[in-house]
Symmetry: C3
């Protein structure tokens, strides 16, 4: 076997599956990012399946297999609770957020039809009159299920490489 | 109605429309960015319809509904005038620009067939022998019309979150 | 001829060719970036054709037509040698890399069917407990050949605008 045959090994879905699914995932992510960039938090749980899970954790924890993260939400009840808590309590310095996403990697489709994919993300933060800085970079480790002609998140694990101000992470990314 | 049905509400075009239009817009934007990154300013007006409009404004102005912006061009006459002015007068420190775009969000298609879409952008600037920095980040708030098998800009409003050196914005982004 | 007809001139493949090829290139690049972000260097040569070439060079050298670069690999033998050298000798401070790609510009398809394309890249580096910084930004100047239902690199020239620590470039990007 020539080295050239390694091109998509040892990981990744078939080219056909990837070409079919990437546009759906990119469309989903563009809407998701728009919702968060606009601060429309009340719409955020709608991107998840009813029992969908959302977590944020540091890469060193993820690599060590540690389950503890900065945010853990399991199902719409907890997602909505989190949104309510943020909307009711936070007072933030005015700031603008901008999600930059890159490179949807379709890893596999499992026996239940769940789509496993990974997308790099970077969230830029600009304080009013301030410089634009990288607030957080990392990757979405996702499990999608089909929902009509689109997708819903069964699981989104945000593995961050770094965050500028760890304590400030109460907003989802 | 379950929360899951909110997935694409309250905003955004249908999934079918979005899947059909995003590749066209991404292709358009890749060419547009290439033209500006290369400094081929004389080709820049060609991305606009004859009466196309181009504006750059700060997000706080956009949110306040203020019409004043750093750049305002209405139609090919003004776009070409701007290009000529830049080419004739500027002396810049040598620098390289790189557009990074993310997340075409197809918002709607109106009754006249105009496509409303939003794309996050980030312009990196590198001075020779210097560090790469984020010169500007923001979003394109676009109106596209169809032109043959491609698109033209009826309106591109660049809403920036921040700019490194406000006075230096004479180049389009 | 109206200015609007300039939209895709003077450079770039036809819209039809670009729309057909961009998804293939984006899929390829997403896998490529995933492989490097994961540090799976032994899989990296598999993205190249058997006689594929890989180079990294500074933009000022590229513009001046200078052939000398930081990395030069010609064919799988040299690509594999480089991987072996890196894996055997390097001791790095722990760090995470994240590729952000944007804007596949399909430039042309030549008489031999080779696809010429350009993609902007940015590599973020995070040292453990450190801030996320832009390690390198630049563009892939690529030549792809078809391989089954996918692509292989005949040539990838990485033209960087800047690098944070020039001497540290021993990893491919």
């Amino acid at each position: 076997m020539s080295a050239a045959q390694h091109i998509h090994a040892p990981e990744g879905a078939s080219v056909a599956d990837s070409l079919a699914l990437r546009p759906l995932i990119e469309d989903f992510n563009a809407r998701y990012a728009y919702t968060l960039d606009r601060g429309n938090l009340e719409d955020w749980p709608g991107y998840f399946a009813e029992h969908g899970r959302y977590r944020i954790t540091a890469r060193e924890n993820a690599l060590a297999g540690l389950p503890i993260g900065l945010i853990y939400c399991d199902g719409h009840g907890m997602l909505n609770d989190r949104v309510r808590a943020i909307l009711q309590t936070t007072t933030f310095a005015p700031r603008y957020l901008s999600h930059m996403l890159s490179g949807v990697f379709v890893k596999s489709i499992d026996a239940e039809g769940v789509i496993h994919a990974i997308t790099n993300y970077m969230v830029l933060q600009t304080l009013v009159e301030g410089e634009t800085r990288i607030l957080q970079s990392g990757e979405y480790v996702d499990q999608f299920i089909r929902h009509g002609d689109s997708l819903l998140l069964k699981d989104r694990l945000c593995v961050y490489d770094s965050i500028m101000v760890p304590n400030s992470i109460i907003y989802p990314v």
